[in-house]
Structures are given as structure tokens and as C-alpha cells.
């Protein structure tokens, strides 16, 4: 195989890694949109908070002398999911619930305010400088010839794939099999009717915010460890990208969000691999504009698609 093939493979792997975390964040947008038809603008900040909590927990566990990698990752995941769940719940209570039912612009503006508030809260509490963490997971699998150019699938990338797969499987099981999942689907179908049938729709809406926030925390932990650098401003871009992914796949559809995330990740990796890394953000937005132009419902966004 020629070198260019392995180069392409490497870009593909990098793209899928980042893309799968975009997918996790995008699910949060798509679920909330599916039920109340609004964009949770503060979702990117939840992801950022997830990253911060993960760094704090990892540092704390390391100080306690815990070396075992699975324990570290699970600890970071659990704590950061709990904390971001609280954030998701509070965002819904403060910035969305009191404003539901009015002009559509009003919750959006309050969510922008919430996003600015959270970003600055973290900036004040944790400082605005970059925080870098040494790589916890080193090494990887080489694909291709041992000598010369070859692609590498790092262990961190494998962890990202595995954790993402597990979270998505759990989410799918929850949505399709559990009683609450059914209530979620019913709410997405018809909120008012579901309420009339005796389901606590307020609770379900809060639940979608919490699930979205928890998934964003998973992405925050994974991407934080993958890149190794965080600052209070990472949420803005990540939120925009994930929103693009959600729209790309068809907002309201969970499989669509996953597909959109992966596609966006690959598109970005290809741009930075073959063109220039500076323009990868431009690619994301251009993709968003093009999709909205030619297929506003997204790839999988058909009216009859299952929404949550």
C-alpha cells in the first residue's frame, strides 16, 4: 500500500475519533430540540464544565495515588456526569422553563445569557489560562508497514470509540426499552397530548436536558483527555460544531446526530490533513450553510423519523 493510503487512513481515524465526541454532544441538542423545539444554546458550556470536572477529578485521584487507568476514567466520567447533570437541570429550570410558550426568540436569548454566564463563572473560578494535562494513555496500534510511513490507532482513540459506543448503546436501550424512554418518545411526538395522558412532561423535559448534559460530560472527559488542554472558552466552538452535526444529520433524530457528528469530524480531519488546519472551523460552518441551503431537514431528518 502506498504512503498516501496510510495518510488517508490516519486522517480518517482522527476524524472518526473527534467526530464520535461531536456526536455525543450533538445528541444533547437533538433531544432537546426534538421535544421542545428549541436550541439549548448553553449546551457547549456544559461540555466545557464536564472537561473541567474531569481534570479536577483526575488530578485528585492521581494525588490520592490511584494509578489504575480504568478507575481513573470511570471516576472522572461518573463525577463529571453527576455535576453536569445538575447543570443541565438548572439550565432548564432557570433559562427555559419560565419562558416556555412565549416568543421563540426569548428562550434563545436567555440561553445565550446563560452561556456567557457559565463561561465567565468558570473563568473566574478556575482562571482563564490553558490547563494542560500529561498524557495518561500512551502508545497505540500501528497499522501498515513497521518501517516507513504507517497509520497509528492510539489507545486513547480506542478508549474514545469504546466509551462512545457504550454510552450510545445505553442511550438507545433507555429510549427504546424503558418506561421513561417511551414517555420521552411520546413527548417528542405530541407534548400536549402526552401531558393530558398523565405524564409529567415537565419532568421529561428536565430529563432530556439531564441526559444531554451527561452525554456532553462524557464527550468533555474524552476530548479533554485526548487533546490534553482545556480553557473556559472551548465550549463555544464545540457547541457550534455539535449543533452543525445535529443539523447535518437532521435535527430531532438521534441516529442523525451520530451520523452528522462522524461526518463533520471526518470532514474537519480531511481539511486539516490536506489543506490547512486554520480553516477547519470555516469548513464546519460552510458545511452547515450548505446543508441548510440544499437539504434543511438534514440527512436523516424526515418527518416520520423517530424523534426524542
Amino acid at each position: 500500500m502506498p504512503d498516501s493510503f496510510y495518510y488517508l487512513l490516519q486522517q480518517l481515524l482522527n476524524g472518526l475519533t473527534v467526530g464520535s465526541t461531536y456526536a455525543l454532544i450533538a445528541i444533547g441538542y437533538t433531544m432537546v430540540y426534538g421535544i421542545i423545539g428549541m436550541i439549548n444554546f448553553a449546551h457547549g458550556e456544559v461540555y466545557m464544565i464536564g472537561s473541567y470536572i474531569a481534570f479536577i477529578v483526575l488530578a485528585a485521584l492521581a494525588l490520592m495515588g490511584i494509578e489504575s487507568l480504568p478507575l481513573l476514567i470511570i471516576g472522572a466520567l461518573v463525577v463529571s456526569m453527576i455535576v453536569t447533570s445538575a447543570y443541565g437541570y438548572s439550565i432548564e429550570r432557570v433559562a427555559y422553563r419560565p419562558l416556555r410558550g412565549g416568543n421563540r426568540l426569548i428562550p434563545l436569548i436567555s440561553a445565550i445569557g446563560m452561556s456567557i454566564f457559565l463561561q465567565n463563572l468558570v473563568r473566574l473560578a478556575q482562571g482563564s489560562r490553558d490547563i494542560a494535562m500529561p498524557n495518561l494513555v500512551r502508545g497505540g496500534l500501528d497499522i501498515g508497514p513497521t518501517t516507513g510511513f504507517h497509520a497509528t490507532l492510539s489507545y486513547m482513540q480506542i478508549i474514545i470509540f469504546v466509551v462512545t459506543l457504550i454510552s450510545m448503546t445505553l442511550l438507545t436501550l433507555f429510549i427504546t426499552r424503558s418506561r421513561m424512554g417511551r414517555a420521552c418518545r411520546a413527548c417528542a411526538e405530541d407534548l400536549k397530548m402526552t401531558n393530558l395522558l398523565g405524564i409529567n412532561t415537565n419532568g421529561i423535559i428536565a430529563l432530556t436536558f439531564v441526559i444531554g448534559a451527561a452525554l456532553a460530560a462524557v464527550a468533555g472527559v474524552l476530548l479533554g483527555m485526548y487533546y490534553g488542554v482545556i480553557n473556559p472558552y472551548i465550549g463555544f466552538m464545540a457547541g457550534l460544531k455539535a449543533f452543525t452535526a445535529a443539523v447535518l444529520g437532521g435535527i430531532g433524530s438521534i441516529p442523525g446526530a451520530v451520523l452528522g457528528g462522524l461526518l463533520l469530524g471526518v470532514a474537519e480531519a480531511m481539511t486539516s490533513g490536506y489543506f490547512s488546519a486554520e480553516y477547519k472551523d470555516v469548513v464546519a460552518f460552510s458545511l452547515l450553510i450548505l446543508i441548510l441551503l440544499f437539504r434543511p431537514s438534514g440527512i436523516l431528518g424526515r418527518p416520520e423519523v423517530e424523534k426524542v
Partner: protein, 418 residues
């Protein structure tokens, strides 16, 4: 009260979960590793106090609501006063007073205050422009700063490469921003409100990234410096005239004073603001302006009445962008230096906050809000750190308690007699 015990406990626990780790522990870089420092007992006390407050608030919320209804409402403005204030002649008089005050004021103030007032006027202009898009046409535009940047860079680049003067630059900047508004609006205005918001946000970011990376043309993050200042009919405001020019103080035979330039910039900004106000008020009385408002209220009804929603949105977007272009050009001329740093999303958010705070659609509200938003950070210098935090909080609270803004717009309406 007991009924509220459980929710109250839950909310107290949520508060602790929200703040415990994020506020209580500070992570920092130490060499290549990370270090954790626990915040002092004062932070722990604050978190506990916040949790207690939320707990008590939720526990007694029924009693508090009852108490709230017992508080007498604020005295309403007497009907005679509102009728008087609503008269066109009175309103015109009020505007005349406002303009007269704005004209006299710089002669009684000092240099730094005039400079600050010029900044306020730039924001008034931006607010009025965005008000067309957000307040009147009801399209949430989060990338407004992109057009501002286009205007500023148009003038800066024309001046740098072709030596174009301010007044030509102003026209070019407006036209360029309008072109961008038109080109962007064309594809995206078919979208629903929240999609539009995100796409415009993305557009604003694209412009900033492009300005940052087209180093050959825009000088990248280093920005463009020594942008020529505006001149008055060929008179310069500098100590010595450049070749073939005359200075203001020589022409009028007065002594050179650098405050003249600051005052000139102020009057120029005032002129631009008045022009903006005039144009918008004329437009509002034209079919175009009526269509904007009608579209905001009910798109389906508009469509059935034969108004083309896309065309109406497009011209709102284009006209809004034009004013941003003017403001950008003036900003570039006033600063003398611009870089992509000045055109971040937060600037868009501030302009949006001005429109929202003032009351969407209300022009007097926008002016008042622009003054508040610009002066507040100057007054509250010691809270500088908390400025953006409070700003975000204000946006949320404003939407909850007074979504119509400080001075809500008076909609033309008619009462049906019974």
C-alpha cells in the same frame, strides 16, 4: 410547607453539586503536572449560604408568593400624562430637546467624556441597525458583528491600498456590508428563527477567521494600523497639514487644540446616528417597514396577503447590515487601528443585549440601553472582573422578568369602541 420540603432539599443539593467542585477546588498548572488548591473557607461559607438561601426560598415559596401579591403595585403613570406624552407635538419637542442636549453637551465636557460619548454613539448606531433585523423584522441575527467587521476592514483596506478618504470609504463600507448582507441573507433567510441565529453566528465567526488567516491581505491578527482620520471638507484635524492639505485650526485661524478632533468625531458620530434614525423612521412608514413588522407578527398572514417573506427579510437584513458597515467604517477611522480581535462573538452579544434591554423594536429604548451598556462598565471599574458574568446574568433575568425591555415599543393599535 411540608409539601415543599422535598423540592427544597433537592434544590439545595443541586446548588452544592453545581458549585462544590467547580468553585471549591481550583486546578492549576504546576510544571508539567496539575495541582489542586482548595478554595478558602470563605468560598465554602458562600456555597453553604447559597444552598441555605435556595432551600429556604423553595421551602417558603408559597408564603413568599402570597406576600408578593400583597405588595402594592407601583403607581401607574396618570392617564393624562401618557396622553400628553403620546402627542406627536410633544414627542417631537422631546426629540428636539434630546438632540439639542447632545449638540451642546460636548462644549461643557472634557475630552475623555466626549470620547466615551462617541463610543456610546457607535453602539447606538449598531443597536439601531440590529434593531431593524431583530426588533422590527423579528430575525435573530447573532453574526451582526461580521458586517461591522466588513465595514471596518473595507475602509481600512481601501485606505491602505488605494489611499481612499473617509467619506468615500464610508459609502464603500456601507455598500460592501450591504452586499455581504445580501449574499448571506439570500440562502439563509428561508430558515426558521433559531436556525437563522446559529447560521448567522457561524457567518460572523467565518468572517473573523478569514480576517485572521488572510495574512497577505489583512495582515492577520496583527491588524491594520494608521488608518486615516476623517476630515471636514478637506480640512485636517492635526497640528501640521500633510501635503496639499489644510488644517482646521489654520483655516479658522484658531489655536491648535487636540480636543477639536475628538469633538469633530463626536459630531460626526452624532450626525451618523441622526441620519440612521431619520432613515429608519422614514422606512418604518413605508410599505417596506410595515411589511417588516407584519412579518414579525405573523408570517402566514403576510404570505396570504401577497407579501413575499423572503424579499422582505432580505431587505431588512441588507439594510441592517448597511448600518453596521457605516458604524464599522466610523469605528476604524476613530480607532486608527483595527484587528480581528475587535469583532468577536461577544461584541455581537453586547449589541444584541442593547436591543433586547432597550425593548425590541423601540428606538428610544435602544439609545437608552446603549448608554447603559457602555457607561456601566466605565462606572463599575472595580467590578471589571465580574462584568461579563453580570452581563450574562442580566440577559437571563431580563428575559424572565421583562422580556419586552426597558422601554417597550408602542405598537400602533386601534381600540374598537363597544
Amino acid at each position: 410547607m411540608m409539601r415543599n420540603l422535598k423540592p427544597a432539599l433537592i434544590s439545595a443539593v443541586v446548588v452544592v453539586a453545581l458549585s462544590g467542585l467547580l468553585m471549591g477546588v481550583r486546578i492549576s498548572q504546576q510544571g508539567t503536572g496539575l495541582a489542586l488548591t482548595g478554595a478558602g473557607p470563605d468560598v465554602a461559607m458562600k456555597i453553604a449560604a447559597a444552598a441555605l438561601f435556595i432551600f429556604l426560598f423553595n421551602l417558603f415559596r408559597d408564603q413568599l408568593t402570597a406576600l408578593w401579591f400583597k405588595v402594592p403595585a407601583l403607581p401607574r403613570t396618570p392617564a393624562a400624562f401618557s396622553i400628553l406624552a403620546g402627542r406627536p407635538a410633544v414627542r417631537r419637542l422631546f426629540w428636539c430637546f434630546l438632540i439639542a442636549a447632545a449638540l451642546i453637551w460636548p462644549f461643557m465636557s472634557n475630552r475623555s467624556n466626549i470620547d466615551l460619548a462617541t463610543l456610546v454613539l457607535i453602539y447606538v448606531m449598531l443597536g439601531l441597525g440590529l434593531n431593524i433585523v431583530v426588533g422590527l423584522a423579528g430575525l435573530l441575527d447573532l453574526g451582526y458583528v461580521g458586517f461591522y467587521a466588513v465595514g471596518a476592514y473595507t475602509y481600512a483596506l481601501l485606505a491602505m491600498y488605494f489611499g481612499v478618504g473617509f467619506w468615500t470609504g464610508l459609502a464603500a463600507a456601507g455598500a460592501m456590508a450591504a452586499l455581504f448582507g445580501f449574499l448571506l441573507g439570500f440562502p439563509v433567510l428561508r430558515l426558521r428563527g433559531d436556525y437563522l441565529a446559529i447560521v448567522t453566528l457561524g457567518f460572523g465567526e467565518i468572517i473573523r477567521i478569514l480576517l485572521n488567516n488572510f495574512t497577505a491581505l489583512t495582515n492577520g491578527p496583527n491588524g491594520i494600523g494608521s488608518i486615516p482620520k476623517p476630515e471636514l471638507f478637506g480640512l485636517e484635524f492635526s497640528r501640521r497639514a500633510s501635503e496639499g492639505m489644510q488644517t482646521f485650526h489654520e483655516f479658522f485661524g484658531i489655536e491648535f487644540n487636540s480636543v477639536h478632533r475628538v469633538m469633530f468625531l463626536y459630531f460626526l458620530a452624532l450626525l451618523l446616528v441622526l441620519l440612521t434614525l431619520f432613515v429608519i423612521n422614514r422606512l418604518l412608514r413605508m410599505p417596506v417597514g410595515r411589511a417588516w413588522e407584519a412579518l414579525r407578527e405573523d408570517e402566514v398572514a403576510c404570505r396570504s396577503l401577497g407579501i413575499n417573506p423572503t424579499a422582505v427579510k432580505l431587505n431588512a437584513f441588507t439594510i441592517g447590515a448597511t448600518f453596521a458597515g457605516f458604524a464599522g467604517c466610523f469605528f476604524a477611522a476613530r480607532q486608527g487601528f483595527i484587528s480581528p480581535e475587535s469583532f468577536t462573538f461577544i461584541e455581537s452579544a453586547i449589541i444584541l443585549a442593547i436591543v433586547v434591554l432597550g425593548g425590541m423594536g423601540s428606538q428610544l429604548g435602544v439609545i437608552l440601553a446603549a448608554i447603559i451598556m457602555t457607561l456601566l462598565p466605565e462606572v463599575a471599574r472595580q467590578f471589571d472582573e465580574y462584568r461579563m458574568l453580570l452581563f450574562g446574568l442580566l440577559m437571563v433575568l431580563m428575559m424572565i422578568w421583562r422580556p419586552q425591555g426597558l422601554l417597550p415599543m408602542k405598537r400602533p393599535h386601534m381600540e374598537l369602541g363597544t
